[in-house]
Symmetry: C2
Subunit: 134 residues, 2 copies
């Protein structure tokens, strides 16, 4: 069962990143492409990891944070204390994410209100013939 390996170019096209980015992630040990000669070939595992990396980034996690989290998703990890640590890390992240979501919801409501207010204000400024301040 020969696994499906894809080139760096294909990776870039599919996930909309640059080669530099992929090499950088490899250097930081976030990805582990195999080699055919000197050239990189990315496995399914790399692709799954890249998806998680990109998502993590959107949430503002650092690459180093993400690297640690990735171990959690990694089935190949059979070491108990390490697994436990990753599990704890995951729980912390989860808590972070929940907190962030809640805060985000608050901020969204506030911003919506501000925008509504601002819209009215703009309306009055552009056309001052309303039932405005006496």
């Amino acid at each position: 069962m020969t696994e499906k390996l894809i080139t760096i170019r294909e990776m870039c096209d599919v996930y909309d990143v640059t080669p530099r980015t992929l090499r950088f992630y490899e250097a930081k040990e976030l990805l582990f492409p195999v080699r055919q000669g000197t050239r990189r070939l990315f496995t399914k595992r790399d692709q799954a990891r890249l998806k998680l990396i990109l998502r993590g980034k959107r949430f503002g996690f650092s690459l180093e944070d993400i690297r640690q989290l990735l171990d959690l998703y990694d089935t190949s990890n059979q070491n108990l204390p390490q697994m436990t640590r990753a599990f704890e890390l995951g729980q912390e992240r989860l808590a972070d994410m929940v907190r962030q979501r809640d805060e985000l919801n608050e901020a969204i409501v506030e911003l919506e209100q501000q925008l509504e207010w601002g819209e009215q204000l703009l309306g009055n400024m552009r056309n001052p013939n309303s039932a405005a301040a006496e």
Copy 2:
């Protein structure tokens, strides 16, 4: 009605930032402390702005983005084209935040599932006398 002004140290203690950070924000025109001699004194307005700055940062917005947005919350702004611009910017940010929240919700669900899975796995690893793999 003398407004309550607080020193840089008090600001730091209350909002858990360094003096360097506050000076930096002033240099970037995000805060406008008044001076007593050479020393900075922060107004209520500065404090409100700082709260928004810190929150914006937690959502991954740049200081420059935040600076623009702050005008929206700022009553003192009476300039029509500037207000309009700030309003548009606010709408974009709002869309960003909504998207971010939705994605975050997805990720939370996934991470919860992963953690559940991981918890079971850890249980089995620690105590292998279950109805596990034959």
